[in-house]
Structures are given as C-alpha cells and as structure tokens.
C-alpha cells in the first residue's frame, strides 16, 4: 500500500465477502426448493430467494469493483484519495440501501422486474451513492499525475455503468418496451461496460504481477475492450429475439452476439501470453492464479457457454429454460466474481502487511471453488438440456419435466457444497490477513516494491 487512503478498499472487500456468503445461503434455499424441500416457502418464497440471490451478487460485485477502484485509482494517479471520509459514507450508505432492499423482498415489496427488483425510491439513493463514488475517484484521477490508460478504462467502465442504470428506471406500460430498456441496464452492464471494469482491473494486476511493459499491456487492453463493444453493443439483440421486437434483431443479435466470445478469447490468450512473457516473478502467486483463472473461466462461462445458445435457431428452444441459468452461473463466476477475488488476493497482503500469498488454504480455495462451480454448471447443463428436449421439443407438461430433472439438482447441490467449501477457505484466508495496518505502509514491508525492483514500470 503506497497511500494511506487506499485502506478503505479493505472494508469494501470485507463487505463484499459478507454479501457473497449471504448470496450462497439464498442459493441453497432455491436449490433445496427445487428438490421439493421448500419448508421455508411461507417466509422466503422462491421469488424472494431468487431476487436476494441475484441482487446480492450485483451488490457484492459492485462493492468489489468500488474497492478495487479505491485501491487502483490512488496508485495509478500517484496521490491519496481526495475525500476518504466520503468513501466511508458511501460504503455505509450502500450497505444500508442494500439491507433495506433485501428486507423489502421478504415483505413482497419490489419493482418486480428481473434483476431490477429494488423498489423505485431506493433507485434514487443508489444513483446518489454512485455519484459520490464517481466524484471521489474522478477528482482523485483528475488531480493526479498524467492519468494512465488502465485508470481511464476502469473509470470509464464505472461511469458508463452508472449512466446505463438510468434507462432501467423508465416506467413503461408496454411490456415489450419495458423489457427493451431493461436490457440496456442488464446486458450493456454485464456484456459491455462491466467488461471494461474487468479489463481495467485485469490489466492493473498483470502489470503488477508479471512485470510486462505497461505500454504493451495497455495496447492490448484497448483492442480487447474495442472487441467487447464491437460485438457487445449490437449483441444486445440476442435479448430482443422473442419479446415483440422487429424481426431484424434475429439477424443483428445472432451475428454480433456470436462474435462476443472473441473479446473473452482475446482476454484469455492475452493474460496467458503476458504471464509467460513476464516469467511470473511476483511472489504473490495466488493472485496471478486467480487472474489467469478469471481470464480462462470467463471465456468458458461467458464466451463459450453463451455462444452455445445464442444463435436464434437454438435459442428458440432454450430461451427461458435452465440453459440460461447454466450459462449465467459460470459467466458471472468467471468474469466478475473471479476478477474481484483476484484483486482481493493481490491487495490483501499489501493492505494488511501480512504475506500470506501462497498458503495451502488459498490454493485449495481456488481449486475447490472452481471445480465446484464447473460441476454446478455441468449439473445445470444436464438439467437444462433435458428440459429443452422434454418440454420444448416433445411438449411434455412443465411440472412433469421438473420432476424428471429433480435428481440433477441433487447433483447440483453436492457441487454447490464443494463450491461453498472453496469460498469458505477463501474467507478463512481473508480473515487470517487481519485488519489493514500502518506497518503495511513501511516501504520495506511493502511487497509491491519487490515487484517494482524486478520489473521497472515504464510510465
């Protein structure tokens, strides 16, 4: 840690970890409901569990992104954060809004649109919160030394994420129009600007961890985020196939969403190539493992599994089935959960001054959670394919098919248990690091200087 105010990142990461744990609890509630064990139904019906599960995912990822930004932006701008107190206010208010929203879901109070469930009055509070965040890192960046590409891409990603939240607040009477703009938020976030954030964080990590020249890495960052927008913007069309929009979206969405894996493939190839080139000399091996894992799993989950059902002729049968849940799980894990975990694995030793970078628990956490998530995706894939064939192609009754695929959810829950063990180990490692300390500020204990010695950066 070079600047005292970077410390706030630790608390954003800690909040993210708590919300992740809660997200998993609600995931289990849904998993058990699917095998008929729905004893919690009177208090937590499926739609509540589902809204909490997905909303907590978004909030903990945003917490992770914000924490990453509070760590990266001062470092890249060469100065302390402009308003450290504002960052604290922002964290606390974000958590308060989150808790109120989750509470509302348990009392059947919501906006009730998939992924945008939070009651509308809370939307405005989120907007204010995000404005505080953007102002804080924006001014820090502005007043700093010449802004780096990595910092700019990260900032742009966060800024556009905030702007694209607004179309989701339009109230519409026509279900088709409603859905049309809802995807501006959901799709353009996860298959657009969030990839900018992910790319920015990944670049920062690769620069720090591999020691490859900044100019080389940042050039590739431009190409990859360029590919993301080239395919991702018109790729929004794959959500417009069957919701009452003109037929040309089948063509536009089909072609451009088929190109979307390219950006992820580029990211994976680039990350692996850079780590080879740099020779992996940084002692924080586990952070590099998470970074490379993120690049690879995001290609498999978001790129490949997305491609598997994005063509209109296939999507006609898979649209609205568990195939989407299959893709969703590994895509979010690979692209966004793993980049946040990679950032945490990198930043924690620097924030706390404890060099726990290659412990057995940290390695087990990586492998167990990834194998668990892969198995979960496999179970959902088998359930989804069976559902598509029986319900959509043969025409059996919805519930008859749900009974047929129940056993796959037993497998899914076992895989989820394995995944949870992995996350548990990650949380254990997080806890072992202890709190951020002043000693981490001392230059000799700051491991980053080690990396800097090994590979001087070209600024």
């Amino acid at each position: 840690m070079k600047y005292k105010t970077q410390k706030i990142a630790y608390w954003f990461f800690a909040a993210a970890m708590g919300l992740l744990a809660l997200q998993i609890v609600y995931g289990f509630i849904m998993g058990f409901a699917r095998i008929g064990m729905d004893g919690l139904h009177p208090w937590i019906p499926f739609n509540t569990a589902r809204a909490v599960h997905t909303n907590l995912l978004v909030v903990w990822l945003l917490c992770g992104f914000m924490g990453s930004a509070y760590f990266i932006i001062p470092e890249e701008s060469g100065r302390d954060l402009e308003w450290p107190v504002l960052a604290w206010i922002q964290l606390i208010s974000l958590l308060v809004v989150g808790v109120i929203a989750v509470g509302c879901y348990h009392f059947n109070i919501w906006e009730g649109r998939k992924f945008l469930e939070i009651p509308r009055p809370l939307d405005y509070l989120v907007v204010v919160n995000v404005l505080m965040f953007l102002a804080n890192i924006g001014v820090t960046l502005w007043k700093g030394t010449h802004p780096t590409t990595t910092a700019l891409v990260l900032y742009m990603g966060l800024l556009f994420a905030a702007l694209l939240y607004l179309p989701g607040m339009i109230q519409e009477d026509n279900q088709t129009v409603d859905s049309f703009y809802r995807w501006w938020v959901v799709h353009l976030w996860v298959e657009g600007v969030w990839e900018l954030i992910m790319g920015g964080i990944l670049c920062f990590l690769l620069i720090k961890l591999t020691g490859v020249d900044r100019e080389v890495i940042e050039k590739w960052l431009y190409i990859i985020v360029g590919l993301t927008f080239l395919s991702g913007i018109l790729g929004t069309g794959h959500h417009y196939y069957f919701i009452g929009t003109p037929r040309y979206w089948l063509v536009v969405g089909g072609i451009f969403s088929a190109l979307e894996p390219l950006a992820f493939l580029g990211m994976a190839v680039f990350a692996i190539a850079m780590s080879r080139k740099g020779g992996r000399r940084h002692p924080n091996r586990i952070a590099l493992t998470w970074s490379l894992g993120c690049a690879v799993m995001s290609f498999v989950g978001a790129g490949f599994l997305g491609m598997a059902h994005t063509l209109p002729s296939i999507n006609r049968f898979t649209h609205g089935t568990l195939i989407t849940a299959m893709h969703g799980h590994m895509a979010f894990w690979g692209a966004y959960a793993m980049i946040v975990l990679a950032m945490i694995a990198y930043a924690l030793p620097l924030l706390t001054g404890r060099r726990l970078w290659d412990t057995p628990a940290a390695n087990w956490a990586f492998w167990t959670s990834n194998i668990g998530m892969t198995a979960m995706t496999g179970a959902l894939a088998v359930a989804g394919i069976t559902q598509v064939n029986l319900e959509r192609r043969i025409g059996l009754d919805f519930m008859a098919v749900q009974h047929e695929i129940e056993m796959h959810f037993v497998g899914f829950l076992l895989a989820a248990a394995l995944f949870t063990i992995g996350i548990g180990l990650f949380l254990y490692t997080f806890w072992r690091h202890g709190l951020p300390s002043q000693e981490a500020m001392a230059p000799e204990s700051a491991p980053d200087t080690l990396a800097a010695d090994l590979a001087p950066e070209a600024r």
């Binding site: 849904m30 409901a33 699917r34 008929g36 729905d38 019906p45 499926f46 739609n47 509540t48 589902r50 809204a51 879901y105 059947n108 919501w110 009730g112 649109r113 998939k114 469930e117 009477d173 026509n174 279900q175 088709t176 129009v177 859905s179 049309f180 100019e215 940042e218 050039k219 590739w220 431009y222 190409i223 985020v225 360029g226 927008f229 080239l230 913007i233 196939y241 069957f242 919701i243 009452g244 929009t245 003109p246 037929r247 040309y248 979206w249 536009v252 006609r316 049968f317 649209h319 609205g320 568990l322 849940a325 959509r392 192609r393 025409g395 009754d397 919805f398 519930m399 008859a400 009974h403």
Partner: protein, 251 residues
C-alpha cells in the same frame, strides 16, 4: 502490429460506430413495436395487470416472453392454453389446484385484480413474438395415430380442455398431478364419475381433487367424453401399463 494509438482509435471508433447503429435500430424498433404488440389494445385493465405483475415479482418464479426465473411455467399464451375460468379458479387458491406440488404464494387478489392480471396476460399472449414459444417439433412423431384422434384438444369438451387437462392427461397430453384418464372408463361407471366430479370428498374423503363449479350438462358432457374414449383408445402398446403418476402412487 498495431501501435497503442491505433488500438485506441480502434476502440473509440468501433464503439462510436456500433453505438450509433444501435441507437438508430432502437429508434426504428420503437416505431414498429406498437404494431407488433397491438399497443392500441393496452387498456387500463392491462396496465393495472402489469403493475400487479410487477408488484408481486411474478417474474421471480415464472417466465413471460421467456424472461424470468424458470421455477414456474411460462405464462406467454397462458390464457389461450388454460382459458380464463381455469386461471380465475387457480388464482383463488394456487396450492389447491396442484396439491403436493411446487408451491405458489396465494396473493389474495380481488376479483377485479384477477381480471386485470388475466387482461395483462391475454394482451401478452397476442404480442408477435417471432415464433416463440415454438410448437414442439417432436410431439407428433412420438404419438401413435390412434391416440391422437382421442387426445386432440379439438375432440375434448371446452371445460375438459381448459381445466381438467391441467392435472390429468389423455393420450399422453396434459398434467401429471392426477391420474391419466385414458382408461378411466374401466375403473368407474357413468354414475360414479358424475358423483366424483360433483363432490370428490363424498367418494374419497381427503382427496386433493378440487370441486370445479359447472352445470350438470357440462358434467355430463365430460363424462360422455371419458366413456367415449373406450371406443377409440387402443390398449397400451406392448401391454405396458400407463405410467404411474405421483397421485396414483399416493393412492
């Protein structure tokens, strides 16, 4: 190889061009959506139904236009599939219609609210969804021709086709909550069937089968249809019995 500034130009230029195309297509879509969705039929009742749909987060379990949570059935064209009487009955007490099955919250809609929800779903059912949901392409391949004759919806009485079929099946089409009715004529006489439908509890106390309000004539029509299956349904192929349903196992 590209220089960094060329890479930046590629990023900014590409993003600009494709964002502009996207915005142009959005403007065009907004012009065409009213016709595709019959926006002129967006009555106040439909809009109230939509608000109810959102206020109770129905998408948190169901899907509509294929969007939602995959825990409960797709509701696009549900009005066409089940009919309004069935939906009215179902919404009064969802768990009663599917006893022992996956549960749905009873939202205690007033009659007016129920009509609004139905109006909304009915409106959604008429939106041009470019061929979604697709007709199951393998259904006809898998059904023997003889069964098709009696199983087709066309030959079924209106109430049977919209209400009974939600739980019972004929010719392999229908729900799995109650037993298949292909061979019910072997198990029950005409009079037994009439009493059973009118008041299931009288014949078997504790049965989950609900009382469906209907006229005597409608009841007779359904019983006639079920008895008529005797002449049309061939014995099960290869002597295999019809598959056991959860309800049968329970018995």
């Amino acid at each position: 190889m590209l220089s960094k500034s060329q890479a930046r130009t590629f990023f900014l230029g590409g993003t600009g061009v494709f964002a502009a195309i996207f915005l142009a297509l959005t403007v065009d879509s907004m012009k065409r959506i009213p016709a595709l969705t019959h926006a002129d039929q967006l009555t106040e009742s439909v809009v109230r139904g939509k608000r109810l749909w959102e206020a109770n987060n129905c998408m948190g379990c169901h899907t509509l236009f294929g969007e939602g949570a995959y825990y409960a059935p797709e509701l696009t064209q549900v009005v066409e599939r089940r009919g309004k009487p069935w939906i009215r009955l179902f919404l009064k007490d969802p768990e009663k219609m599917f006893p022992g099955e996956r549960r749905m919250v009873n939202y205690r809609f007033t009659d007016a609210q129920t009509e609004d929800v139905i109006a909304f779903l009915d409106w959604c059912g008429h939106v041009n969804l470019q061929g979604f949901p697709p007709k199951p392409p393998l259904r006809d391949l898998l059904r023997p021709a003889a069964v098709t004759a009696s199983g087709t919806a066309a030959s079924q009485p209106e109430l049977f086709r919209t209400i009974c079929i939600a739980c019972h099946s004929v010719g392999g089409v229908g729900g799995v909550v109650g037993p298949a009715l292909d061979e019910v004529y072997r198990r029950k006489t005409r009079d037994e069937m009439l009493v059973w439908i009118a008041d299931p509890q009288k014949l078997k106390p504790g049965t989950p089968m609900p009382v469906i309000e209907m006229t005597d004539a409608q009841r007779a029509e359904i019983v006639d249809y079920l008895l008529d299956l005797a002449g049309r349904t061939p014995p099960p192929a290869n002597g295999r019995p019809t598959p056991k349903t959860p309800a049968e196992v329970y018995e």
